[in-house]
Amino acid sequence: MHGVTSIRNFISITILLIMLVGFASPLQASVQDVINTDASLQAELIASKINVLRAAPDGTGTRISLPDAKCTVKFENTFLTITYQKAVSSPTTVTKHLIQNPTVIQSFEEECPNSFFLKKNNGVISVD
């Protein structure tokens, strides 16, 4: 009988592990999804990069990767606006302010998902 009990325990633990592994993947995906679609967080992250770039010397550049989601990011001199298109509800728009200093940012707009390179030259930040 001990053999049968061991087999039962083995099967139970196996099923439990399969359940855990099965849940882990969607959980990870949902966490990533929350990060990608959190307009405020994404805007903060992009604004942070630009804030640091504004303080950097001429010739400095940085690559900005926009999230894997349906969104639009618009840059203007002192703020950036990120708009997320939603399938079932109205779009979510978040505006974040950038640190203001003598560096100028050329206005431009990018669609997600996308990756682009920003460079600072002669006190002006533009897409390279």
């Binding site: 929350v34 950097a56 203001q100």
Partner: protein
Amino acid sequence: MAENLDPVWMIMFIVRIVFAVAIVFFMSILILSLSISLDDDQLKRFSHELSENILSSELAESKGIISEAKLDSFIANSSNLISNVYPGMGDEAAFMLGDIQFGQYPNIEPNFARHCLIGYSASIRELNGDRFWDFGYRPSGLEEYGLADENFKSSQESFPISVMKRDGSLQQAEMELRVFIDPMTRYSCLAEMAKTTKEKQELGMPLCTISRCTVSIRNFYDRNNYTCTIESPHQGSSDAEYVACRYLPGVSIIPSSLTYLKDEKKKLVAYPVKEGAPYSDIMSDPDNSMQISQDNCDSLKAAWIATDADNVKSVIFCMEPR
């Protein structure tokens, strides 16, 4: 088969089943109740970004090295600017704008590093010397707003820097940045954005925790250099008790006193107003300042809101339902 009929075995079997179901049920609850929220510690990160900007600004000799001569010059120029706009300042003005009599603490966030929404003050101190330089926004206490504590956010970070003395030697120093998001910084940002973008700007007001909350916004002593809140809507420009002021040059605020009740859901809206817009002075009848403010909003919204083609003369704040 005999063991299947054993009552002890059957009871143990049932116990095992119940135990297994309970574990599955418990795990399901844990997994289904999982909710993900993100908090990115915005102010702390902002402090580091701001330090990058200050340490590479016009005050810096090279990255991370601040010039004593440039610091002195900046503080003196800022103090002169305040003195020229507000000559013969009283104690209250000195308290709000900085004790400039001694060339210290100007309440100015300079153009080389400022942020619309987040206010800051910087304090640079030599570690082995006795010199120090302070400048920037100073928030007020909490009690006058009747708002919950979470509406007043702040963070404080220190950064190691060097100060280059006039003789060219380097002195170890520390730069402490205190950054704030509070009602004053939100209001001033709203006014700045309304003037810059020529579009109305909205701010959802936090719930009022007392019976009635009042928001009184105006320039400091009728000059367009500071945006301030005052304690009582009934006070005139000469006897107003200013609560907090933030440096915002070139933005004229039409004085207003707005109110909302406990648990009311309201939003504060800043409208850009065209040149020549007529409005009533709320101090012409202090007891009715709130009604006059509301009347000003109604009349200006009807015909005097600036558009892209207009010059923005001033900004008016209105309280509207959310």
